[in-house]
Subunit: 384 residues, 2 copies
């Protein structure tokens, strides 16, 4: 299996793009990635997206986006794994290039969330949950996460305020990311006093919706021989599933798919958690940040919030997370998020993260979570 | 790149499955494929589906279907390419196994179309067209195909009745397929007198909707060494796109993506069109059957209907098509169709097609069309 490198990155800002449609955003990201890679075409395009059918009345994104990006003819497919769609597209793109079937590919994600009414978007997001046994009961996606957080607070005796550091760190880091959705510092008091959304999740526990697209250009590593292109290698690319319904899990406070995909990714890359210089985790809700850190081996069970309280997750900490704002502040354009995460690691490994730069970053991990932990894709990147 | 073989097939009947949900149908097909292959697990699952978000309020099909099939933990993703989703899932599954990342995979398709109202299903199908520039004008999917057929009749001076053979052959073949949606012979008169849907497409030009699921078990060919499992090899697996909107094409009567993917598939398999023993084409509408035959090299431009009139497409003809009923009579559960097509070729190459058996079939091709020819995936299978 040949190794795969990322030689180009492109992204749009994450915001309410009233003047850009789904196809515009996708093309913007692809053309930016091409410019970065010094290329104009690829053998295939893999598009992470979750909600285009409902939010834009548009499927067939492969043909749509290939054509709109000037790549008509190129094979192109949509890949869906709920909020994990972006990383799923990278995972599949990496396999396509590794197989030798393609000598280059675009792996990208795009989501247009703000052209619809908020109830419609909320209903679209709920399609990530079990339609027959969760959504039909009226529980929203934030509601499911609230149930998990409620239980976590009860089980491990934390207070809601103990989760503040995840959001404060994310907002702080996003200040230096021009593509981030939110640019405002928040304090512990802001966090404490934020409007309640679904008890105990308040506004500052939750990542914002937004429109956005991000794209990567993938090629075989050996095609870079002799060139001076930064060698950013996909050292691990793995996925695992858990039950789609939270109530079907033996233990609702353990992200078994995050654990399984992380362990496999560590194995592929030949590393331990301590070897990572940064971790772009899936902080869609602050509880998910804590659970991810536990599942990936950075904290004992029930001790995730400790890493926030001790400053371990900050840029100079033991395991920096959300280094460019994370889902919480860079924003969470659902099907694109996993690509933003990996793109931001590429920036870090290239030394192009500006004020957010993690000094000497050589190995980074991104973990993208679909559903309430039901479909999880993990990538380890290495500068070689 | 290692060669990939299909060692298991499973399918549900295509019909209105009022007692089976999306997940039930998918699990039925997977478990049947496992039984056929003598296996109980795989490394990954690729699920072709187009409309689950709208028709079942359900995305995150990977986690849903892995869990419901007893494969919780296994990585699993949805792949979407409109009506070409099924073959796209096979294409990606084949790359995953070819890459060495997986040593086995399920490639499958599932669609649940009849739990929604017909206007809802029609709107869902229209998401395969260009939402901003076609569907927004009120044109349905059958409407787009009607415009193409109208133009074809005008341009090449055929009469509507000249297309009858495609539907008659499909219905005749479906009589012997217990999984087919329709089991009724039709005559030229039935065809001529059928109810008009969108002029010139009448009811017997159009494939029926339906619920269904089909699954394949993929493994590396070299893993079969020493076993007496039938060696059905994926000799070609290719895709190409065209503009999503029909009006954006230089020539609306030429399926450029069908041509491109077929030529590439012939090249991969090292064959010519004349080497094929059968061709499972995408006869969603009779006009698409004619255009596919032309694009794939079986007829000159504008001469597709001739193959029907001359009997070339019948079981003992030069290039048998729709051998188990095709989309027209086996049925067209959109995202599953491409998998049914390939599954039926496996049956033929194994000599398990019963009354529909094409004698001595050794090489077959399936072509799955997404949108109005905008995303096309072609597979060549060979018994080796």
């Amino acid at each position: 299996m040949r190794e795969v490198a990322i030689i180009g990155i492109g992204q749009t800002t994450v915001e309410e793009h009233w003047d850009r449609s789904l196809r515009d955003l996708a093309a913007d990201a692809i053309l930016a990635a091409f410019k970065d890679a010094g290329r104009e075409k690829v053998d295939g395009i893999f598009i992470g997206n979750m909600m285009s059918g409902i939010c834009s009345h548009q499927e067939n994104l492969g043909a749509l986006i290939a054509g709109w990006s000037g790549l008509q003819g190129t094979e192109a497919f949509k890949v869906e794994a709920a909020c994990g769609s972006g990383a799923a597209a990278i995972h599949i793109g990496a396999m396509a290039v590794a197989s030798g079937y393609m000598d280059s590919a675009i792996a990208m994600g795009v989501e247009k969330m703000t052209d619809t009414s908020m109830p419609e978007t909320t209903a679209a997001l709920a399609t990530a949950a079990d339609a027959d046994f969760e959504s039909d009961q009226g529980v929203t996606f934030v509601g499911l996460n609230a149930l998990i957080m409620q239980r976590y607070l009860h089980e491990y005796k934390w207070k809601h305020a103990d989760f503040a550091s995840f959001s404060i760190n994310a907002h702080e880091n996003a200040m230096h990311n021009p593509n981030a959705r939110l640019h405002d510092r928040i304090s512990a008091r802001d966090y404490r006093e934020a409007r309640m959304i679904a008890d105990p999740i308040n506004l500052l526990d939750a990542s914002p919706t937004g429109d956005g697209a991000a794209a990567l250009v993938l090629v075989p590593l050996d095609s870079l021989r002799g060139s001076n292109v930064p060698r950013i290698v996909i050292a691990g690319s793995t996925a695992a599933t858990d039950s789609i319904a939270v109530h079907d899990r033996r233990d609702g406070l353990w992200l078994s798919a995050a654990y399984a995909s992380a362990v496999k990714a560590y194995g592929q890359a030949g590393i331990q958690p301590r070897d990572l210089d940064l971790f772009e985790l899936h902080d869609a809700f602050s509880i998910m940040a804590a659970l991810s850190l536990e599942a990936c081996g950075f904290a004992e069970r029930g001790q995730g919030p400790r890493l926030g309280l001790d400053g371990d997750i900050r840029p100079k900490g033991r395991i920096p997370v959300a280094t460019r704002g994370g889902l919480k502040a860079r924003g969470h354009p659902v099907g694109a998020t996993g690509v933003y995460q990996v793109l931001e690691i590429v920036q870090q490994l290239r030394g192009e993260a500006g004020e957010n730069q993690i000094e000497g970053a050589k190995i980074g991990m991104a973990q993208n979570i679909g559903g309430s932990g039901s479909n999880i894709v993990t990538h380890v990147l290495r500068r070689s």
